[in-house]
C-alpha cells in the first residue's frame, strides 16, 4: 500500500534484537526482539514495508519500517458480558427486600 507524503502513519523499529536483550528475562520474552511503534506524518511518499521517516506530533523525527497508513484505534467496548448483566438486579433485590429488624444501621 502506498502512503503519500504528509499521511498520518505508523512505523516500527527494532530497539533490541532477541540476542541483545537483558539476561534476566522469561524464556518466551528472551526469544523475541524489543520493538517500538511510533506514529507521525510521513516525510516522503513510501510503501508499507519500506524504510520511512516520520515527524511526530511534537515535531521529532523517527525512522523505521512503515507498517500502517492511517492507523485505526482498534480497542472498543467489547460485547455485553452475560455474567455481569444481572448483578445490578441481584443487588437491588437485597437492598429493597423487606428486612424486618435485620438492618442495623438505617
Amino acid at each position: 500500500m502506498k502512503a503519500i507524503k504528509g499521511d498520518w502513519v505508523e512505523i516500527e523499529k527494532v530497539i533490541l534484537e532477541a540476542d541483545e536483550r537483558v539476561a534476566k528475562l522469561p524464556e518466551d520474552t528472551k526469544i523475541v526482539p524489543l520493538i517500538s511503534y511510533v506514529q507521525g506524518f510521513l516525510e516522503k511518499s513510501s510503501n508499507v514495508g519500506d524504510e520511512a521517516s516520520i515527524i511526530s506530533v511534537i515535531g521529532r523525527r523517527h525512522i523505521g519500517t512503515l507498517v500502517n497508513r492511517k492507523p485505526k484505534f482498534t480497542h472498543h467496548y467489547g460485547q455485553p458480558i452475560q455474567e455481569l448483566l444481572t448483578i445490578g438486579r441481584e443487588l437491588n433485590a437485597i437492598l429493597h427486600e423487606e428486612t424486618g429488624g435485620d438492618s442495623h444501621n438505617d
Binding site: 522469561p26 523475541v32 524489543l34 523505521g64
Partner: protein
C-alpha cells in the same frame, strides 16, 4: 524485519546508556540523588523529600491553578445499606469515596504529574518524558498541554504479535489526545533503556512516577481526606484504603494524612492478586485483565522500591502501610457493576480495587467507623469491564459466576454470585519487611557490619523497632 541503518543500538550501547543512568537522571530531574546516600545501604529519605521544599499549601495552590484536586468525597449510601444488611449487629463501617475521576485527565495521577510539570516549566525545560503503564501518561500529557510543554510518553503496550489489551490501548489514545508523542513498546523491562535514551536525546525533564515531586503531589489527596472528614464528621477517617502498585499512592496519601494530623488513621493497601503471572513474560502479558494495581507491581516494589527510574524511589510503601490486602479480578468487576448500578457512578475498573477491598473491611469494622476509598478513575472504550472481559474471553480466559476463592489468574475470572463472597486475603507485611531487609543487606558491596545509622534506616523503612531489626539481622 531488520534493524535499520542509522540507529545502531547495540548491547554495548545499551550498557553505555545504563552506565550513564545517574548523570542522565541528575540532569533531567535536577537532583543529585547520590548526595542523600550514606554508608553502604542507607539514604536520607526525609532530606530527599524536602529537596524541592514545596509546602502542602504551595502544592495545593499549584494543583488548584491547574484544575487538579478538591475532588468530591461522596458517601456510598446504597452500598453502605447493603453492607449493613450483611454485617453482624453493630458492624458495617460507612464507606466514602474520593472521586478522583473528577481530575482533568480522569485519575489521581494528575496530582502526581502536576508538580513535575510545574517544575519543568519553571526551570525552562522544553518538554517532559515519562515511562508508565498508563493513567500517569495521560496525566503528564494533560498537565504538559496546559503549560505548552511537549510530552513524550513511553508505554509497554503490545506482546510480540502486536496484540495489546484494550485498557492499555485506551491509555495510549488518551495520551495522544492531549497532544503527546506516544512510543509504544513490546513487553520487557528494557523500556527503561528507551526512557533513558529519550531523556538523553531530548534533554527534556524526567517526569518520573517515583521522584519526590511525584509523591509530594499525592500528599494533598491524604490531606484533603483528613481535612474534609474532620470538618464534616468531626473525626478523621478510621481507615483509608489505597490501591497499591508501585507504592506511590500509598506513600503520598499516608504522608498527607500525617501532615493533616490524622496519624492514627489506618492506612490499608489493596492490590488485585495476579499470583502466577510473570510481569515480563510475553505470553502472560495479555492473560491479565488488570494492567496496574496488582501484585505484579505491589509485592516486588514493596520488597525493593529502588527498581525504578530514579536511584532512590520516593515511593516507600513499607514505611506507611498498616495492612495490605488482596482481592481477585472477578471481585473488582463485580464491584464495578455495583458502583454503577447502586450508586450511579460508572468508573474504573482498575480504580475500584480499593473499593472492592473496602466492602469486606467494612464488615469487620463497627458501624460508627468511617472508611475512605481514596480513588476512582475514568472509564470508557477499552477501559471498561465489557472490554476487558471480552478480550479475556478471546484469549482463552474462562469467565464464570462462582466463588472467587477458586480463581486462578490467567486461567479464569470468577465473578462472585453474592456480595457475601467478597473477601480479602491479608499479605504478611512482616514477611515483606524481612524480605526488604534481606534484599538490602544481600546487595551490600562488602561484608562490613551495618552502621547504627543503617540500622536506624532499616527501622524507618520497615516500621520495625531497632531491636526487632537487630534480632532479625543477627
Amino acid at each position: 524485519m531488520k534493524r535499520l541503518e542509522g540507529i545502531p543500538i547495540t548491547t554495548n550501547l545499551y550498557q553505555a546508556i545504563i552506565q550513564e543512568k545517574n548523570e542522565i537522571i541528575k540532569s533531567s530531574l535536577g537532583i543529585d540523588f547520590l548526595k542523600y546516600k550514606f554508608d553502604q545501604i542507607g539514604f536520607n529519605y526525609d532530606q530527599m523529600m524536602n529537596h524541592y521544599s514545596y509546602s502542602i499549601d504551595k502544592i495545593r495552590d499549584i494543583q488548584n491553578s491547574n484544575k487538579v484536586g478538591n475532588t468530591p468525597l461522596v458517601e456510598m449510601k446504597n452500598i453502605n445499606k447493603l453492607i449493613s444488611k450483611i454485617s453482624k449487629k453493630g458492624y458495617g463501617a460507612k464507606i466514602f469515596i474520593k472521586d478522583e475521576a473528577c481530575n482533568p485527565s480522569g485519575s489521581f495521577k494528575d496530582r502526581r504529574a502536576s508538580l513535575s510539570i510545574h517544575q519543568a516549566k519553571e526551570k525552562g525545560y522544553e518538554g517532559v518524558v515519562c515511562a508508565t503503564s498508563g493513567n500517569f501518561g495521560a496525566a503528564v500529557a494533560s498537565q504538559a498541554a496546559m503549560h505548552g510543554l511537549k510530552a513524550i510518553i513511553i508505554q509497554e503496550v503490545f506482546d510480540s504479535n502486536k496484540v495489546g489489551q484494550p485498557e492499555i490501548l485506551e491509555k495510549s489514545r488518551a495520551c495522544a489526545s492531549y497532544g503527546a508523542e506516544v512510543i509504544q513498546l513490546t513487553v520487557g523491562p528494557e523500556l527503561f533503556f528507551t526512557f533513558l535514551s529519550t531523556l538523553k536525546e531530548t534533554g527534556y525533564f524526567n517526569a518520573s512516577l517515583y521522584s519526590p515531586l511525584s509523591i509530594a503531589g499525592v500528599e494533598t489527596l491524604g490531606y484533603e481526606i483528613a481535612e474534609e472528614c474532620q470538618t464534616r464528621f468531626n473525626q478523621f477517617p478510621d481507615a483509608v484504603i489505597v490501591t497499591n502498585a508501585g507504592g506511590g499512592n500509598v506513600t503520598g496519601t499516608a504522608r498527607g494524612l500525617i501532615k493533616a494530623g490524622a496519624s492514627n488513621t489506618q492506612v490499608i493497601g489493596a492490590s488485585v492478586d495476579l499470583k502466577g503471572l510473570h510481569m515480563a513474560s510475553d505470553q502472560d502479558f495479555n492473560r491479565k485483565s488488570f494492567t496496574t494495581g496488582h501484585t505484579g507491581f505491589g509485592i516486588p516494589f514493596s520488597i525493593n522500591p529502588d527498581r525504578v527510574d530514579v536511584p532512590f524511589s520516593a515511593a516507600r510503601p513499607l514505611r506507611y502501610l498498616d495492612r495490605y490486602v488482596l482481592i481477585s479480578q472477578g471481585e473488582v468487576f463485580y464491584t464495578t457493576e455495583m458502583l454503577a448500578q447502586l450508586e450511579g457512578m460508572e468508573r474504573g475498573p482498575a480504580g475500584n480495587t480499593s473499593l472492592t477491598a473496602a466492602i469486606s473491611l467494612a464488615k469487620e469494622m463497627r458501624s460508627d467507623q468511617i472508611i475512605v476509598v481514596q480513588e476512582t478513575e475514568y472509564t470508557g472504550a477499552g477501559k471498561h469491564p465489557t472490554a476487558q472481559l471480552t478480550f479475556a474471553k478471546e484469549n482463552g480466559v474462562k469467565i464464570m459466576r462462582g466463588n472467587p476463592e477458586n480463581n486462578i489468574p490467567g486461567e479464569n475470572i470468577i465473578i462472585p454470585e453474592n456480595i457475601s463472597q467478597l473477601s480479602i486475603k491479608d499479605v504478611d507485611l512482616d514477611y515483606l519487611r524481612g524480605s526488604f531487609i534481606n534484599f538490602k543487606v544481600n546487595n551490600k558491596m562488602d561484608k562490613v557490619e551495618l552502621t547504627d545509622s543503617e540500622i536506624k534506616f532499616l527501622s524507618d523503612e520497615t516500621k520495625w523497632s531497632i531491636d526487632r531489626v537487630k534480632t532479625f539481622l543477627f
